[in-house]
């Protein structure tokens, strides 16, 4: 029996494809030649590894299947939180520093000119500006199916300029809120749609005054969002 023949017999036995006669043949071989027993054990170990690796190799080549719509919002939120739309830095440190200095000079010059223009425009066309509205959707019950995309669309419809962030844990929502507080400089509105609790929570601060209110979803989400929006407009004099 040559090496290939032993291999063929051994893998069939390991795979459970061997006949009784083949199994007995292998047993006799292993009994007579200890070095073959070592080889057999190695083939058994190899088989175990191959059975683990092959499905993952196959998975790596998979191309069928569509990303669920509800997952997109959650994944894009992760991208924003982790990468924040930052540009990759290029060039040497010295070059970056020079560019930074020029940028500062331009920025200072531009800021001065802008301040003058802004003052003039404001004094002529003074009109109350709108607060920044940040919207979050919290679904602690786990990844939602289907409805999530509709609800996100409703939130975007109600507050067209807002970004809707999706969270599946209270901890992530708290982190988002903390980040907003740091960025907001005491102005702005936060809207949280808590799916599990069935409520829309509004809180904000505008021209030195804080406000907050919880809206229970009694009829449907669209109606509740209209109520929340009306509340925000009332509090921000729009």
């Amino acid at each position: 029996m040559n090496e290939q023949q032993f291999f063929d017999l051994a893998v069939k036995v390991i795979a459970g494809q061997a006949s009784d006669a083949e199994r007995r043949e292998l047993e006799a071989l292993l009994a007579g030649r200890p070095e073959l027993k070592t080889e057999f054990e190695r083939l058994r170990d190899d088989t175990r590894i191959v059975r683990e690796v092959l499905p993952l190799v196959s998975a790596t080549q998979a191309s069928a299947g569509n990303l669920p719509a509800y997952a997109r919002g959650r994944l894009q939120t992760k991208v924003r939180q982790t990468l924040g739309g930052q540009k990759a830095s290029t060039g040497s440190a010295g070059e970056r520093e020079r560019k930074m200095m020029w940028r500062w000079r331009w920025a200072l010059g531009l800021a001065s000119a802008t301040a003058v223009v802004a003052f003039l425009i404001l004094s002529i066309f003074s009109r109350p500006s709108a607060p920044a509205i940040q919207v979050a959707m919290l679904d602690t019950a786990g990844a939602t199916r289907g409805l999530d995309a509709n609800e996100a669309a409703l939130l975007r419809q109600t507050w067209e300029k807002a970004t809707v962030d999706s969270f599946s844990s209270v901890e992530d929502l708290r982190a988002w809120e903390a980040k907003l507080r740091a960025q907001r400089k005491n102005q702005g509105v936060k809207v949280v749609f808590d799916r599990a609790a069935g409520e829309v929570r509004v809180s904000g601060r505008w021209k030195g005054r804080s406000f907050e209110k919880v809206f229970l979803i009694e009829q449907d989400l669209a109606t509740t969002l209209r109520q929340a929006d009306a509340f925000i407009k009332e509090k921000t004099n729009r």
Partner: protein
Amino acid sequence: MIGAKLEGDDENENEVEREGGYCDEHGAPRGAFQRMNAPNLQALQRGDPEAWDEAFRWLWPVAFAAAQFRLQAFLPQDVEDVAIEALEALVEKVREMRSVEELKPLAASIAHHKAVSRLRAAFSDKRGRRQTESLDEHRDEAGDRAEDLAAHSPLDSLAQKELAELLQKALSALNPPLGDILSDFYLHGLRYEEIAKKRGVALNSVGVYLKRGLEAIRRIWVRNRE
């Protein structure tokens, strides 16, 4: 792409047939098609939302398939969640990557590890609460083996990045029809005769391909652990 040329003095090896060019369902050489649709890594590292939309669609089948392999038997309802979690974890690692070819193997690796963790947690939880009835339904040989695999799989000793590198090397080493024949035998349980008929190769060459494939995997495994 020309199939594996097998050389050697062994008479069986001389009977191996040389395969013609191998293309995927789109008519492009395998590998080239995947590169054509690969997202721009720099755009991903910048956090470009459109690039990530494209990347998530491209990577979803990989993460899903890897999670499904582990979870389908016991936790099929968790497959999608684990696949999503794997893609979220991949976002955190994108800045460490040097080439877009690393994305898919890493996605598969992360999904695999998360699936194993989910499985172990589920088994541990059920044992802890003495709720073994539903597990007993699966307690045939396949069920026992699946639990053992979850607890003692050789891949579990590899970190995510190590497993991803192993998968990348395996992808390169298992050119068609090597990888296909290995899958036929080890994953689908086909016999030599069935494989020879399916793949259009000589019966004597099936074993040769299997031997070469096992040796390739073994080399990658050993080098990876050095």
